[in-house]
């Protein structure tokens, strides 16, 4: 079974630029999550989708972050404009359904904002 795919794996940008990350979840998984993991900390949920609808985006900085999951499969997370404090690893995860406990994580995208 193919795992969660993410791209790019690494990205370096300057502050105030924009950046986008892509995620392809495990086939058949209805729920998709985006996490932000700052160095030395645990992952923090940014947004959760159930199919193509948003379940939880309470921790998403909506003034600069946006995410979509068109057609309920792939998802993109965008930051515009980026700030220095956005430097982190952005993890995508998926699960069969929103109340299924085990989440499967992708390798992450490491973002450095200079």
């Amino acid at each position: 079974e193919a795992g969660v795919a993410q791209s790019p794996r690494y990205k370096i940008i300057e502050k105030r630029q924009s950046v986008a990350f892509w995620c392809n979840p495990i086939s058949g998984h209805a729920t998709l999550y985006w996490y932000q993991q700052i160095l030395g900390q645990g992952p923090k949920l940014l947004i959760q989708f159930q199919n193509n609808g948003v379940v939880d985006d309470s921790q998403l900085p909506k003034d600069r972050f946006s995410a979509e999951r068109l057609k309920g499969v792939d998802s993109t997370l965008k930051i515009q404009p980026a700030k220095l404090e956005d430097s982190a690893v952005y993890l995508c995860a998926s699960s069969l359904d929103k109340y299924v406990e085990t989440q499967y994580f992708g390798p992450g995208t490491r973002l450095l904002v200079l």
């Binding site: 992952p43 939880d56 406990e101 085990t102 499967y104 992708g106």
Partner: protein, 111 residues
């Protein structure tokens, strides 16, 4: 603030020794999970324990849960160099569909 807090922050042991990591949380939960993260394989689910369970085993892993103390422990027996990783506990808080992770314990197993 984080729901779960792991202790210790870092742990260094020799191969073959046992490693114990602890997690404390603040509010009632339905289940608690442990995940491992290393550079090679990303974040991987290890084990889930429900609030009505006290102990669970999976291979060399043993997890305990004490809901009265709001704490859990992860024991890795007969550790190997490949166990070197960060270990995170995660609780289903504040809702059953969201995972909240702790800060993690960095385990180093020296050959």
């Amino acid at each position: 603030s984080q729901q779960g807090e792991e202790d210790p922050q870092a742990l260094s042991i020799q191969e073959g020794e046992n490693a114990t990591m602890n997690c404390s949380y603040k509010t009632s939960i339905n289940n608690l999970q442990w995940y491992r993260q290393n550079s090679g394989r990303g974040l991987v689910h290890l084990i889930l324990i429900r609030s009505n369970e006290r102990e669970k085993h999976s291979g060399r892993l043993r997890v305990t849960l004490d809901t009265s103390k709001k704490s859990s422990s992860l024991l890795i027996t007969a550790s190997r160099a490949a166990d070197t990783a960060s270990y995170f506990c995660a609780t289903d808080w504040p809702s059953g569909s969201r995972l909240t992770f702790g800060e993690g314990t960095q385990l180093t197993v020296n050959p």
